[in-house]
Symmetry: C2
Subunit: 527 residues, 2 copies
């Protein structure tokens, strides 16, 4: 096995993008696992670029190089113009990080900047969130993920006029290395996460310069909806966010959402692993549409066609028939639905469970609901900072759940709806408005945002009442699946949940695109 | 969010396959998360089957039902013909598990059948691995995943002649519930995992009957290669295994391989989570070939075309530019390579890492190699049973590694090869035989199966020496990626590893299809 380190970015120019963009595989380093087998060059290294793309990229590289050169020159000039600048070694554009030296300089995390560090001289690497010159001072807010701190460069014995001017001119979103004294402040700095200290900068170097014009402003991107209108300040619409996702993901809200989402996956897996489940990996390219022929993406597969799996359903059941007893998987699922709603994606992450049971499917329900409860508890206990960060922009009540989970029989649900004035039959399916209403009624009565609706009438959606003329499941193509029931199959059941919807509902967000890093829908394939 | 429980198999017939095969979505139960949002019927429920498929399935169902009826009748006759069968309530084909009753009968795991349980009367559910009648006795081997135990039904005060006959006629691979007394044995039972006890059966009921003819025999499927030829016993070739994967996965070897593989994923994630990495989910459907236009699968995407991601490369780098600092992902990657070798798959699971570093890319190398070491250690310490199980069929030396990982500079590698008589230039790439040879030399000299080859000459595979005329990266299509470097990007590096190859190499296996549950290659799309 070869592991290429495809983007040794220390070897290329980060402020331009030339080498990185056109050469993902410089192949400067390989990890080698030699046991039994040693193999030829990996696929990763067999990639190269077209002459056309290459030329274009080279041109861009030249342009970027020229620009960088110019900036460096300017910085140099700035220093040289004022020969009596006693602080000239204390600021500037740093030479590119090229893995030439291994500094043993410790970089402190912004999150660690608390009063315990007061009067220590520290180094920190962070983004310039804002910068504002004010007479002989320049105030900066330095940001690192969800955390930020106020910093100050003031003309004095550690900083010259020129240095303050340099700091004031650093483009927002640039990355800087700063040496600073940590100082306690008398009045809490409400606008920053680190409210009790500020940094008095003694050295400042730009590590990676951002372009002067950003396609969106981070302050606008975290502003609660509504506030923009009232006070004439801007908010950012969803398409602008998604078109410039890399910047949108830098907001405190996005950082919190996706750190919490990472927690959902971890809690899901850890809970199931503790319960004795085995993680499986199921194929995404399949020979027959797993859930029928509609809503399936077709893939060109050498000289034939294949499909993208709409769920791991068939495979997780086969794993049960193959004696894995209890399995789960976390992976992408694909739905070619032309639905442009706030809760549909064409690609999302499925959290799937399947398990054999002994006597009653309630054993499975209990496992699934307990898993959900463990996720909810874990999020509540370990991700409070993230929840509160998201709530600042999207206010929402804490997610409520019961332990054990409320199990409501369908007839009880129908009775509750009827008591609220809804007319419906015993075996009638829940319409969307009725489902919403029932949710509100359950919340009022039981104070929970999560419940199970059991004994859903089989008559509601029996498979034979709704033959879909577009579906053409070729049984020959899923023969292996059908056969797996011929050779002894334990009773089993399971379920699947969309990761993005769990995160969305838990945080009270209103669009599933907010919880998908790079969402895909019928109209969006980029970034 | 609705969670359909698509296969409430307790509600359908497991010994046939009718309802299960044609109705994945009985929709009998939903989990409801109501927060803020309650939605209409999920996509999962909007699936149905074609009339044609339906008819065929119904026919099959009728056939299966008739067969089951016949078997039940036979069983009933068997009991009734001999009216003096005192044991007639102690065996039989159990009524289907239909979630009608919640037994509080505890089922003991086969793995727990140790001398501590001696003289206890227990219930166990397991597969009939083998059964062999011998006069008034019937010896069974009962299997549960990697574990098996010998069991015995003997004519006596707990079992009648008829009961022994019934037990002897149960088809292999059927699932049975057995009530039995645990008895210590004087002589170890070498052929079973539970060597110190056997079960004296007092009741036996078939829960799920396997068909009498299996497409492959499990004993053959675990036989070490070579042994088959010598003693005239069969082994099973790879295509037969893969065509009947559900049965092949039941072997002790397969159970061990995939349980260990589940451990690789868990160790990878846990190690990185402890190091402060965040898990990300990257899209698999992309608008431009991430690694160039060759070897990429095309997907029909509504009215346009898209591609399947050949790696999460671009996305994990964007996440670094979006301030996630250290990220990892575990997910499928797709390569449309028409390579029919023992180590190529068209779909495999990538374990990917990307991280910002401070001063030197060795920081990243150290993180990656330490992660690998933690995986190797975790496997060694927690999966010894699985390793030894696999070794029984595929003998192999334990996987060797050093801590910290050996880092060899390329020039040192070249020097070692030259000392072994190889003629090559300083900047020459390693050929496959030379890479293999170097692996052996490193193993001899340093006693390790894992090392890093650092300072791979840039000249070996610079991006501009191998322009691939089929590659046409449209920079406009990866604009978001390129832009992410315009707005401040920290120095970063990363790598990717194939899960199946890690498992294969660690266990000393010789084909990557052995470590992929449902492998995909240019010629295989099923099961």
């Amino acid at each position: 096995m070869r592991v290429s380190i495809p983007s040794l970015c220390g070897l290329s120019d980060f402020r331009g993008f030339s080498q990185v963009a056109v050469s993902n595989h410089t192949g400067r380093l390989v990890l080698v696992m030699t046991k039994e087998e040693l193999k030829g060059a990996s696929e990763e290294e067999q990639q190269a670029q077209s002459k056309k793309g290459l030329k274009k990229a080279q041109k861009e590289a030249e342009k970027a190089a020229k620009k960088a050169e110019k900036q460096a020159k300017l910085a140099a000039e700035q220093q040289s113009t004022d020969e009596d600048d006693f602080a000239k070694d204390r600021y500037g554009v740093s030479p590119m990080v090229q893995s030439q030296e291994k500094l043993d300089r410790v970089l402190v995390r912004v999150q660690q900047l608390t009063p315990e560090r007061a009067d220590q001289l520290i180094w920190v690497r962070a983004r310039v969130h804002t910068s504002r010159a004010k007479g002989k001072q320049c105030f900066l807010v330095l940001r690192q993920q969800q955390f930020n701190v106020q910093a100050l460069v003031a003309v004095g014995d550690r900083a010259s006029k020129q240095m303050v001017k340099f700091a004031a001119n650093i483009n927002k979103e640039s990355i800087v290395d700063v040496e600073a004294m940590v100082r306690k402040v008398d009045q809490k700095i409400e606008s920053c996460s680190q409210q009790d200290v500020e940094l008095h900068i003694e050295r400042i170097f730009v590590i990676s310069q951002a372009e002067p014009r950003l396609p969106l402003q981070l302050e606008d991107a975290v502003r609660p909806e509504g506030e923009g209108d009232e006070e004439g300040r801007a908010t950012v619409n969803q398409d602008t966010r998604l078109d410039n996702r890399v910047i949108d993901l830098r907001t405190t809200t996005s950082q919190a959402i996706f750190r919490l989402q990472s927690g959902v996956c971890q809690l899901f897996r850890d809970t199931l692993t503790d319960k004795g489940f085995v993680e499986i990996q199921t194929p995404k390219i399949i020979s027959a549409a797993s859930e029928g022929g509609a809503n399936v993406f077709t893939v060109s597969y050498f000289k034939t066609s294949a499909y993208l799996a709409q769920s791991p359903q068939l495979y997780k059941q086969m794993c049960i028939c193959a004696d894995f007893d209890k399995v789960f998987c976390v992976g992408p699922v694909f739905r070619a639905e032309d639905s442009n709603t706030h809760r549909h994606l064409t690609e999302f992450v499925g959290l799937d469970i399947e398990m054999a049971f002994n006597y009653h499917y309630h054993e499975v329900i209990d496992s699934i609901t307990d898993t959900m409860v463990q996720i909810f508890k874990g999020l509540r206990d370990k991700f409070q900072t993230e929840i509160q960060t998201v709530n600042k922009q999207y206010p929402s009540e804490p997610f409520k759940f019961l332990e054990p989970t409320l199990r409501l029989e369908y007839t009880e649900g129908v009775a509750m709806l009827r008591a609220a004035g809804v007319e419906m039959g015993d075996e009638e399916d829940l319409s969307t408005p009725n489902e919403k209403l029932l949710g509100r009624l359950v919340k009022e009565k039981y104070d929970t945002d999560f419940y199970v609706l059991d004994k859903y009438p089989l008559a509601v959606r029996p498979f034979y009442t709704m033959p879909d003329p577009t579906d053409k499941v070729d049984l020959e193509k899923i023969k292996a699946y059908i056969d797996s029931f011929r050779y002894g199959a334990p009773p089993h059941a399971g379920g699947g949940i969309g990761l993005e919807r769990v995160t969305m509902l838990y945080l009270g967000l209103h669009n599933v695109r907010q919880t998908s890093m790079f969402p895909r829908d019928p109209k969006r394939l980029t970034p």
